[in-house]
Symmetry: C2
Subunit: 142 residues, 2 copies
């Protein structure tokens, strides 16, 4: 999760979110949110990390991998995670507005999936990073 | 929708789904499902079409575009469509298992969005294409 937080901080001009995919204790993919930079609404950290891991491993099935992500995944990312068969997801901040692993909705029930999800990992650090980003954004907008 | 059906038929070895994005009456992006070919669980027709349209138009906001897709979008694609601000979605077959614009869940309510969605467009043709694919798959599996 520390690595995911470092990545999130590299997401300049973006909502700071970082995601890391781990297999056998080693990082196989790591990404930050790049929606604005890539002009791509699908370029969330989780999607980019999944695509990178799949290309590296040469298969779309990631059932021997775990994901660490600083923010609870949105429905787009949650469904991609479910489709990829990732084993366990650890996330930092809860997203009460759009979180799709329990906070707003839980897509595991739609997929009838037993995916393990643990929220609130290093939550304070992840919350502070998001709060600081949105505080700066409000100051700029004034 | 005819063009989307043609594309879906080109998705060899994949669940046949095609998507087309239209702006001012012209096709700006068109794709078929390429999950197996690309080894990428995010390579659904809708995601590929959105990314292509965004790259061509040089912006992530597609609020002057409509999408035609042969199957009701899953939660991943539905959320990407909502995030892209696409104006109107026309889909063919309803997906009672995973459809995220009303059949299984409706993510518009999660996003508090007024996105217009019309289902059942050329539904028979789209259903027949899917039924034929799954029938062949069952025969091969025997």
């Amino acid at each position: 999760m520390k690595r995911a937080i470092e990545l999130a901080k590299q997401a300049k001009g973006e909502i700071p979110v970082g995601a890391v995919i781990v297999k056998d204790g080693l990082v196989v993919a790591a990404a930050c949110n790049r929606k604005e930079q890539n002009l791509d609404v699908t370029a969330h950290a989780e999607i980019l990390a999944i695509r990178e891991a799949e290309q590296k491993l040469g298969r779309w099935r990631l059932d021997d991998c775990d994901m660490y992500v600083t923010l609870e995944p949105c429905p787009m990312c949650a469904w991609a995670i479910l489709n990829s068969r990732i084993k366990t997801v650890y996330f930092g901040s809860y997203d009460l507005n759009y979180g799709a692993f329990g906070s707003k909705i839980d897509l595991r029930s739609v997929a009838n999936s037993k995916l393990q999800v643990y929220g609130g990992i290093m939550e304070n650090e992840c919350n502070e990073m998001l709060n600081s980003y949105f505080k700066n954004l409000r100051n700029v907008a004034r």
